[in-house]
């Protein structure tokens, strides 16, 4: 008895002290934990529990058996996916659409910011900014509604103008060859203004003394923009570019769902719309979850890589 007591007596007080400390801490700071608790529970219930549910990507999911008791099938769904032309096409389309948005959409906010910076009339500047930021806050449904209305074959303004110039009407939204142009163009129209804010902030951070000495040297405004402003905001440009590349799998799919139709799937169907159709419309949950997992893992790796690189570029992480 003595021996046993002895062997236990050393760790016990340690534990007691520790748990007493925890109790004391909780008694003093319980309010903080009470404030934290609801949100932590929310994250577990709404974001982490679905991650547990992701296992259906490796299972033959049956609604009746539920997530946990459905049988495992290993990588079957992934084999199916990579032998599925539609899925391969969706990956290609995602990269094509994002790539086009990046190539054409990335420089425009920078140019806009530089141009806004050259406006001296504050009222004009403020009005213009107010207007160009606005489309960012308009819902995908309305933007798509405007596009559908404007591109309508007989009454839409685009075709009316084509007719006026002597061309025949084109039913743009049924033509696969037009989808990317319309989608990317709409995206630029909607986001270019708002995207300029981050560059405007960078421009505002350029030291005024640089411009003062350039004025003394007789530099023109264009030279100052070219030789001072652009080099000074180059780090911001680089970081934003890296982030955009990191997010290349993110496509505004709400908009695509609104604008695409079977006739244009060929160029319009992206990974997320593929998942939406397979999973939510055709109820092939396991296969769609596998596609989603593939997408999420690649996106995660891209974002982490982008973040690491941007850390090196700027010495400060964006997140």
């Amino acid at each position: 008895m003595e021996d046993i007591n002895h062997s236990l007596s050393t760790p016990e007080p340690m534990l007691l002290v520790k748990s007493r400390r925890v109790v004391k801490h909780l008694r003093k700071e319980w309010q903080l934990y009470l404030m934290l608790l609801p949100t932590i529970i929310w994250f577990i219930v709404f974001l982490y529990k679905p991650m547990y549910g992701l296992q259906i990507a490796f299972k033959d999911y049956s609604v009746f058996k539920g997530i946990t008791s459905s049988p495992w099938v290993g990588l079957e769904h992934f084999y199916t996916l990579f032998n599925n032309d539609q899925f391969i096409r969706a990956i290609q389309n995602t990269v094509m659409i994002s790539g086009a948005s990046l190539i054409f959409g990335f420089p425009i906010p920078i140019i806009l910011a530089l141009m806004f910076n050259e406006i001296i009339n504050p009222k004009f500047k403020k009005t213009a900014q107010t207007i160009v930021y606005l489309p960012h806050f308009i819902s995908a449904v309305i933007i798509a509604g405007i596009v559908i209305t404007a591109f309508a074959p007989s009454t839409g303004v685009i075709n009316l103008m084509l007719n006026a110039m002597g061309f025949d009407s084109v039913y743009f939204l049924t033509k696969p060859e037009w989808f990317r142009t319309i989608f990317v163009g709409t995206g630029i129209w909607q986001e270019a203004g708002f995207g300029s804010i981050v560059f405007l902030a960078a421009v505002a951070g350029v030291s005024p003394s640089l411009y003062e000495s350039a004025v003394v040297d007789g530099a023109s405004r264009f030279q100052m923009m070219y030789k001072i402003t652009i080099p000074c905001i180059l780090p911001t440009i680089l970081i934003m570019l890296i982030i955009k590349i990191g997010n290349i799998l993110e496509v505004g799919f709400e908009m695509i769902i609104m604008l695409y139709q079977p006739a244009t799937y060929e160029t319009a169907d992206v990974i997320s719309t593929f998942i939406y159709r397979q999973g939510l419309q055709a109820a092939q949950y396991d296969l769609a979850a596998a596609a989603g997992l593939f997408n999420a893992v690649i996106a995660f790796l891209l974002v982490i890589t982008a973040n690491t690189i941007s850390k090196r570029v700027s010495k400060t992480s964006l997140w």
Partner: protein, 296 residues
């Protein structure tokens, strides 16, 4: 220094540059504005004029027939009311979760702070995706319910981190003064931090309002009951009918209104609330809150 005086200091080349630049910005601004004007003009035009392809810029044969058509449709008002419920309920719920959580995370005495932060931030980079989220909502019994839409999208990592950073920047002396008067954490948060963080809270509130007002995808997926759908889903139904089904579209055409004028009228009516809060939205992001926000 006024604009004119300022211009006098410029060389000829600079003046040309400034005016060309102003012209280009004006063009860009006009092209941003044009689609909105176009839709508004369609909504106020006579159906016949639209069908005949006469409307480019301003209303032709001004009429409010399309609006009459919309406001006498009970489904429009049901969806409008639902959007208000989702927007107000959702935004208040978000604030109730986010504010106390951001405060707790900003306090150094909170144990495991690093891990709580990581747990929240991780969801910005990785999420389970559409299907597991949907199945989870279904398993929780949150399909087709107001509560599901409100609670299911209450938190996001970005807003929490934004506000936490703001709280972290509050000087310790403010809190100490309140503590001397015997305030507990709830009182410190309410009396000290919330008043100080008003601009940040306003920003989060506005972004919640706008995203709730505009959200349609999950409402479309999670709600089956027509009585519960928000405005955006209702609008989507109208627009998809327009693009899919020509017979439906043509069945609606009378001489007074056409399909285009009716859907344009709904679009205008659903943009108006966004325009109403927009001045505040703009004020808050002009202060650069959104930019300085997320750093860890």
């Amino acid at each position: 220094m006024s604009f004119k005086e300022n211009m006098n200091l410029y060389s000829k080349g600079d003046k040309a540059f400034v005016y060309l630049n102003m012209f280009l910005i004006a063009m860009f601004t006009a092209s941003t504005l044009y689609p909105f004007i176009y839709v508004a003009s369609l909504s106020f035009s006579l159906g016949d004029a639209v069908t005949a392809g006469k409307v480019f810029l301003t209303p032709v044969d001004f009429t409010v027939a399309a609006y009459e058509m919309v406001v006498f449709d009970p489904a429009f008002w049901t969806s409008y009311r639902n959007t208000f419920i989702y927007t107000v309920g959702g935004t208040l719920t978000s604030l109730l979760f986010i504010i106390p959580c951001a405060y707790a995370l900003s306090r150094p005495q909170l144990a495991g702070r690093k891990y709580w932060n990581m747990m929240i931030a991780f969801t910005m980079w990785f999420n389970a995706g559409m299907i597991p989220f949907f199945l989870n909502m279904r398993d929780l019994g949150l399909l087709d319910s107001y509560f599901g839409i409100i609670i299911g999208f209450a938190c996001n990592a970005f807003n929490i981190i934004l506000l936490r950073n703001f709280f972290e920047a509050v000087p310790a002396s403010f809190e100490e003064a309140a503590r001397m008067d015997g305030a507990n954490d709830f009182q410190v948060l309410w009396q000290v931090f919330i008043p100080l963080a008003k601009p940040a809270i306003a920003t989060i509130t506005l972004f919640c309002i706008v995203s709730r007002w505009n959200g349609f995808f999950w409402a479309m997926i999670l709600l089956r009951d027509e009585e519960k759908i928000p405005l955006q889903v209702y609008l989507r139904q109208i627009i998809t009918q327009l693009s899919d089904d020509d017979t439906f579209a043509s069945s609606l055409i009378t001489s007074a209104y056409s399909f285009e004028t009716v859907s344009s009228a709904i679009m205008v009516l659903s943009i108006i609330p966004v325009l109403l809060v927009y001045p505040w939205v703009q004020k808050s992001f002009n202060k650069g809150i959104m930019l300085g926000g997320v750093k860890e």
